[in-house]
């Protein structure tokens, strides 16, 4: 068994080994379906200006006379407004497409950043029991105990320079804040996995043949952890896209009237207008669902191919 393992894992020709892996991943049906879905969303985001040109509706343009009733209620889907209008007489379809840009631009980097940081912390904490683990776990708990809203609010105040202009680009700040509040979940998850893996026979075997710690973590532990973490990434993504809306509402980051899915969903809920114009909520909601479904399919496909235990 140990021979087999050594040969399989430490055999030289890596390049050759990787290619089949990519091919195997691509051969997985759920991965292909996921790629198509994600590709569609990205395409839609890129083609947003085309939709704006076709409908003649800018993303922030208000059509109060055409798209709202006298008492301010938005119209439903029609020939000119395919998904109806929102509470300010703006085209929901055009805004959903433009919103994809912000939501992907914020959600994907923030979640990835959280994944990288959280996995790194979790690996180290899980692999080095004792003081290191205690310190890092304590740090994670402290980070978890920070109240999101209060911290975000104080960051807004800090990010306002002497001239009233923001010091850091608001979009970057939003990415950092969201990553700051979601890496802990990745850290906890990874640490738990590593603690279990640490005592598994194949790890002990690697230790017994004198593999360095670094190599052990990168070669033995990480491949077992990544698939699970990748799936969790897809779970965390929609949460982070919505967190962007919360931050916007507090005055950090993406500002009105710029559209993002989170903003649109929050607005539909706040105003209860989804009752008269369900597409106000369904438009960005379905877009988000498709995105998450796509990333989830990719994540679980990768997992079933790559997970050594799978």
């Amino acid at each position: 068994m140990s021979d087999l393992l050594t040969e399989k894992t430490y055999g030289g020709e890596e390049a050759v080994r990787r290619f089949p892996a990519v091919r195997a991943v691509l051969a997985e049906r759920s991965v292909r379906a996921g790629l198509v879905l994600v590709g569609l969303v990205v395409l839609a985001a890129l083609l947003a200006p085309v939709a704006a040109a076709l409908t003649g509706h800018g993303p922030d343009q208000q059509f109060r006379a055409e798209a709202l009733s006298e008492n301010g209620l938005p119209i439903g889907p029609s020939a000119t407004f395919p998904l109806g209008a929102d509470g300010n007489g703006r085209d929901v379809l055009v805004r959903t497409l433009y919103g994809a840009r912000i939501s992907l631009l914020v959600g994907v980097p923030a979640t990835t950043l959280a994944l990288v940081a959280g996995t790194a912390v979790g690996l180290v904490a899980g692999f080095f029991p004792g003081r290191t683990d205690r310190l890092l776990s304590l740090g994670t708990d402290v980070a978890l105990s920070f109240p999101f809203v209060v911290t975000a609010l104080s960051l807004v105040a800090l990010n306002r320079g002497g001239d009233g202009e923001p010091v850091v680009d608001p979009v970057l700040l939003v990415i950092l804040v969201i990553a700051l509040f979601s890496w802990t979940y990745f850290a906890r998850l990874t640490r738990g996995l590593v603690v279990v893996l640490r005592n598994r026979p194949f790890v002990e075997a690697a230790v017994s043949i004198g593999v360095s710690r670094r190599r052990l973590i990168v070669r033995e532990i990480l491949p077992n952890v990544l698939p699970v973490v990748a799936v969790y990434w897809a779970v965390q993504l929609p949460v982070n896209i919505l967190a962007e809306a919360t931050l916007s509402f507090l005055g950090v980051g993406v500002q009105a009237p710029t559209a993002s899915w989170g903003n649109m969903i929050a607005e539909a809920q706040r105003t209860s207008l989804y009752q008269v114009q369900p597409w106000f909520l369904l438009g960005p909601g379905i877009a988000m669902f498709v995105t998450v479904l796509g990333f989830n399919a990719i994540g679980s496909g990768i997992r079933s191919v790559l997970d050594p235990q799978g």
Partner: protein, 603 residues
């Protein structure tokens, strides 16, 4: 600057679509079938039956204030009205908020005014008692104690400026009191017991004498606010102001007393046994019990409770959701009430001398302000509020329910839809042919964000570009007051009159009067308006017996000068359950008067 509580909306409601469909079906079934037992119709003019329980669904999970000293929101005033009485008060109106302007004797049975109009001598009623944590008789000394509490450094009265003008010696007394270190109730009590306010005295248990340095036509109106409620010192001084302990041991002077109080769950008020109705001309106190339910935490949940009959009224719901209003309107429901409230929204400018940005400097030119007034599309803003039922365009300082109001608009546009061409022309004349960029601050909540994005879209048509800067509500006044903050215009300016009718003092005599509110901290929204002509007119009006025409003149003068850009006047909209009878508006609470509303008794 009484607050109308900002809206909080959360969470998706389940089942609402179902209840909406049910409501729609019910509406289609026929013209508003009578709901309650025996009543021939909800609006029938018959004497309301006493008894029953009035149930109120609160959007917030607790009251923002219950101590009459600190309560200064319309919603806290609605509840406090059931628990306190004043010297004089308004009896409520079944027609419109603005009709509730007749002062009636409350705890004071009668009063005399000295010849110079500066001294008021009140005679208290017989047989008036506290209920709840004290049951002794209410005496004149209790008012003296309550007023002495106004400038306790631990918890100051919410509207102190009124009283600095109203009572002789009050300002000096407060200056002394400010030296008492905060944090120790015993020290405050010692100060109160050993110091007196020259203009506030109780010669005997039934007589209260209040003296001003000047004559004020609205002196009694100032006294009608909940701040001036009697409190028993032996009970109140035991607690920290408005703490949960205080609320649970509330000494009530009104028709109801607190039976139970659990923040986040419910507040139950029970009618005081054997309440002397003859001695209270303002509060009929029809219902036996008032229950405030704190468990509904979204607008949808509140509205759903009312529609399903689990609640009769709402609390902390500024405006029902547009879709709900429309549903009630479509069915011509008698349970939808709306009234002018005198509250208004406007755009203010950064007029403090430290503001030297190009935008702030441009706004010092009248022509630029006029351009802004012409560029604004008020029709769009009214539509965003929910249409005619919720708002109406406004072009002047004084609103429709306030003394001195004469409807006019110095800068009218066709259909109130703005005149971008004219605005561009004025900008060019003022030296901005290529348009103007302004840093525009707004408070982030649903209502103000809608106003901000709508203004941005409409002003762009006139070449005025708004750079929107959102500020969280809790930080907004600090942001505006900080001389270092960067802003040219504030898009979320608003106010609600403290009382209806002769409350013109608040704006033309207060916010805009540089004698009363000099530029600096305390100047609301950094308006920093200075017009000696207005100050002269205000001084004349305060002491006048017929201040209406003087205020009207001041309004014409100031509205044309545009110290701010008036946008629209808000109307108050309320929905009730089908059990509610004798719907009554309260001037002070600018919404339902729970001490005069009746319910159909349960069968």
């Amino acid at each position: 600057m009484k607050k109308t509580t900002s809206r909080r909306r959360r969470a998706l409601p389940p089942l609402l679509a179902a209840s909406a469909a049910a409501a729609l079906l019910a509406a289609c079934a026929g013209p508003a079938a009578p709901a309650g037992g025996g009543a021939s119709g909800p609006a029938a003019d018959q004497a309301p039956a006493p008894g029953g329980t009035l149930r109120i669904a609160s959007l917030q999970s607790d009251l923002d204030a219950l101590d009459p000293l600190t309560g200064y929101s319309t919603d806290s005033w609605e509840i406090i009205r059931a628990l306190t009485r004043q010297l004089v008060t308004y009896p409520g109106s079944t027609t419109d908020i603005k009709d509730d302007t007749t002062l009636v004797p409350d705890l004071a049975e009668s009063w005399e005014v000295s010849k110079d109009g500066k001294t008021y001598t009140f005679h208290l009623r017989d047989n008036i008692r506290y209920s709840g944590s004290s049951t002794r008789e209410i005496v004149a000394g209790d008012f003296v104690y309550a007023i002495k509490r106004f400038c306790d450094p631990n918890k100051q009265v919410a509207a102190i400026n009124y009283f600095k003008l109203a009572f002789s010696g009050f300002a000096d007394y407060c200056e002394e009191f400010a030296k008492v270190p905060a944090g120790d109730p015993a020290k405050s009590k010692a100060f109160i017991d050993s110091h007196d306010i020259a203009g506030v005295s109780a010669p005997d248990d039934k007589t209260l004498v209040l003296r001003s340095d000047t004559k004020n036509y609205d002196f009694l109106s100032i006294l009608s606010m909940n701040f001036v409620s009697p409190l028993p010192e032996e009970v109140v001084s035991k607690y920290v102001g408005d703490s949960l302990e205080f609320r649970k041991n509330y000494p009530s002077s009104g028709p109801y007393q607190i039976a139970s109080y659990e923040p986040g769950r419910s507040l139950v008020l029970k009618k005081v046994p054997g309440y002397d109705h003859a001695g209270d001309p303002a509060r009929k106190a029809y219902v036996d019990e008032i229950v405030v339910d704190f468990t509904a935490n979204s607008e949808d949940a509140v509205v759903q409770k009312i529609q399903s009959g689990d609640a009769d009224l709402s609390l902390y719901l500024d405006v029902p959701p547009l879709s709900t209003i429309q549903r009630y309107q479509a069915s011509n429901s008698p349970y939808l009430h709306s009234s002018d409230s005198g509250a208004a929204n406007f755009i203010t400018f950064n007029a403090r001398p430290e503001a030297t940005s190009p935008g702030a400097q441009a706004l010092r030119k009248l022509k630029v302000r006029q351009a802004l007034a012409y560029a604004v599309n008020k029709a769009n803003l009214v539509q965003a509020q929910g249409g005619k039922i919720a708002a109406k365009p406004l072009g002047q300082i004084i609103t429709s329910t306030i003394l001195g109001h004469e409807d006019f608009d110095p800068y009218p546009t066709p259909g109130d839809a703005g005149d971008p061409a004219k605005a561009r022309r004025l900008l060019a004349e003022a030296g901005y042919p290529d348009g103007l960029k302004l840093d525009a601050v707004y408070r982030v909540n649903a209502q103000f964000e809608t106003i901000a994005v709508t203004l941005k879209a409409d002003l762009a048509k006139a070449g005025i570009e708004l750079n929107l800067i959102p500020v969280p509500p809790a930080q907004s006044s600090a942001y505006l007051q900080d001389p270092k903050s960067r802003w040219d215009v504030f898009l979320s300016g608003s106010f609600a009159p403290d009382w209806q009718g002769p409350s013109t003092r608040m704006l033309l005599g207060g916010w805009l009067n540089s004698d009363a509110a000099p530029c600096g901290t305390g100047n609301v929204h950094a308006i920093c308006y200075d017009n000696p002509k207005l100050n002269k007119l205000a001084a004349k009006a305060f002491a006048s017996d017929d201040p209406g025409p003087i205020w009207a003149e001041a309004d014409r003068l100031v509205s044309a000068d545009l110290p701010w850009i008036p946008l629209f006047e808000k109307r108050k909209v309320a929905i009730t359950s089908e059990r509610v009878r004798n719907w009554t508006w309260s001037s002070l609470a600018t919404q339902a008067d729970i001490t005069n509303i009746a319910v159909v008794p349960a069968r």
